[in-house]
Symmetry: none
Subunit: 377 residues, 2 copies
């Protein structure tokens, strides 16, 4: 059973039994300094992202986006954030075993600073891994690409960090016998897995999905290993560690999160040792964008598309739209427009000329899909 350990209680050199599978309450660096050196196998860290938001953001339906504007994510400057990053990374490095590895997750707001600092401090990057979200929040104003991923850095303690754990064969076996790539596809944490407060609102603004942590632990830890999370939050790391037969240590400042995490972890039933096989992520149906036919040279800008009866002819443009006269838009929009319908499947409606006959462009999509399948959509 997990319990809270106040730092003040640990006036002596702490024995492992006092902090293993517990949440240490307090500041991240201070708590790390109380742990013995070289005692941790793997660290998973989800530090503040240092988002710099300017005013409110509304959805097109005028509802307000619930932004991450908590105090813990506010920093005076890049310099202040760098100093914070350096401090916790140094403290984390001390407690890591020589053959240990560390995972840090972040977004473009902070991950470049974190990665550079990790290299400066002597960590040796093994991979950067991309978490592709199946259901990311849209870009509501239409001024940028939809921010659909986050980045994780996986690094060993030293360049000569030989002997770190990487369960290559198990990952490959769980991935249709293809070696695991550096881009992973998972949904964000919603529904029943998402912890709620008494109001029914999300308890923690940035709760990570358990599937993500499970992939990380199945890849880089062995059963019985100790996984440390210096920004424990809602305790996903602890819950997954317990379920997978790993030990955890959490560090967290806010009592409300500690209480919720303890309750959550207590409810977890570990898998039987024999069942600790790797969980596979969702495989998405590869969706093909019309523009990818242009990318791959299957369709050339300036080409003409026809409907099955050649009543209409549309011209393909370089931007991946099609045009008839003054009208331009997606294959679906223009297909609907010429027929006077609300909707149309452009893939089956439009055809291209081949050896005298007409073939639906859906056939080209099938060809394009063949090249995408291994990469998982």
């Amino acid at each position: 059973m997990s319990a809270v350990r106040l730092l003040d209680e640990l006036s002596h050199a702490p024995q492992q039994s006092e902090w293993l599978d517990t949440i240490l309450k307090g500041d991240c660096v201070a708590a790390l300094d109380r742990l013995p050196e070289k005692s941790i196998d793997v660290i998973f860290a989800d530090p503040p992202y240092n988002l710099q938001l300017d005013g409110d953001l509304h959805r097109p339906d005028q509802s307000k986006v619930d932004a991450v504007d908590d105090d813990w994510d506010q920093f005076e400057s890049f310099e202040a954030y760098d100093a914070f990053t350096r401090a916790w990374l140094l403290a984390a490095r001390r407690v890591l075993k020589p053959n240990g590895t560390i995972w840090v997750i972040g977004s473009y707001h902070n991950i470049f600073r974190v990665g550079a600092k990790m290299q400066d401090l002597g960590f040796w990057i093994l991979n950067d891994v991309v978490w592709r979200k199946t259901n990311p929040m849209p870009n509501f104003r239409g001024r940028r690409f939809q921010n659909a991923h986050e980045t994780m850095i996986w690094a060993s303690r030293d360049q000569k960090g030989k002997g770190y754990t990487f369960n290559y064969e198990a990952l490959k076996a769980s991935n249709d016998d293809i070696q695991m790539r550096s881009d992973w596809l998972f949904p964000i944490c919603t529904g029943g897995e998402r912890l709620k407060n008494d109001n029914g609102d999300k308890l923690h603004p940035t709760q990570k999905p358990e599937a993500l942590l499970a992939r990380i632990m199945m890849a880089s830890t062995k059963p019985g290993d100790v996984v440390l999370d210096p920004f424990f939050g809602s305790g996903t790391t602890g819950a997954v560690a317990k379920r997978l037969g790993r030990h955890f240590v959490g560090i967290e400042r806010e009592q409300a999160y500690i209480d919720a995490a303890n309750e959550r972890i207590d409810a977890v039933r570990p898998f039987d040792e024999a069942d600790l096989t790797v969980l596979t992520g969702k495989r998405a149906e590869p969706r093909v964008a019309f523009v990818s036919l242009i990318d791959t040279g299957l369709v050339t800008p300036g080409a003409t598309l026809y409907d099955a009866k050649k009543r209409w002819a549309a011209k393909v443009r370089a931007d991946g739209t099609v045009a008839i006269g003054d009208s331009a838009g997606s294959i679906h929009k223009i297909g609907a427009e010429v027929q006077g319908l609300d909707a149309c499947n452009g893939w089956t409606f439009w055809h291209y000329e081949r050896s005298g006959g007409l073939t639906p462009i859906d056939e080209l999509r099938r060809i394009a899909r063949l090249g995408m399948e291994r990469a998982g959509g």
Copy 2:
């Protein structure tokens, strides 16, 4: 036709015609310093990667992997790489227009240092975009995840970099009418597209696929824009720019790459101008004042406007405002007020009665715009 310009030839302040659509030979920073400030719309940069290879890498069959170990890719230390990065980023920033944007591509070896330096110098990150490779090189040793992606940083010159080009509507239309995400899927550059030297080996170690550059230019440039590539290499940026009706400027040190790139670009046939039209949305349409509908007689003072469900009725006044009871104001203000919202698009909220049904006044705006076009703006 493209041509090589030696820096020595440019002893005077160079005219645009002297460097547009050419490759400048020489050191990246020195060449950038010869270009006029604020003259470039978009920069694409593929800087050296600072790969730290410890000895030769061998495939399982003992054949040697042709790794990136050219001497331009070796750096003494992180410090030297940071200084190099800072120098070329500063020089690049000077030539970028205030509303210009920059793309930088890299791997985990260098992208964190580059991204942190970009933030330090005042660039404002708009997105990080992941290039997922359909066919990445396997990890031969089985000690890490297959390195299946590279990272691109897209940034504006300043935080207040308003008005940068982003062809949102075109990208969405080309992507099954769903907004474009930050993770892109493309094959690596192989086959006929890959330039070879006389021995039949690859000419350049890191030639990027044209589809990747095409996506970048279709997203962030307009036809006629100037795209600069300070590490031109095999000239992918120039070839795609020419094909898409954009101008390019390349900077490259090695004559062999310059020769190959010039030959490659000369062979490119641009798409027809008509096929390069970029789909734009409402944002790009000229402003229409509601009062101009009254001026042109499309709306009469005293007319009544309704919301779609006829819960509210507003009266049009001669000055172009609408009124409900004591409240009067713009179509937007009154629309927001009756709904209790902060904002409202009056053009789509308010309707007028026509043959029994309700039609949005946006339809009248469309008609007004047609009249403006005929009158020549």
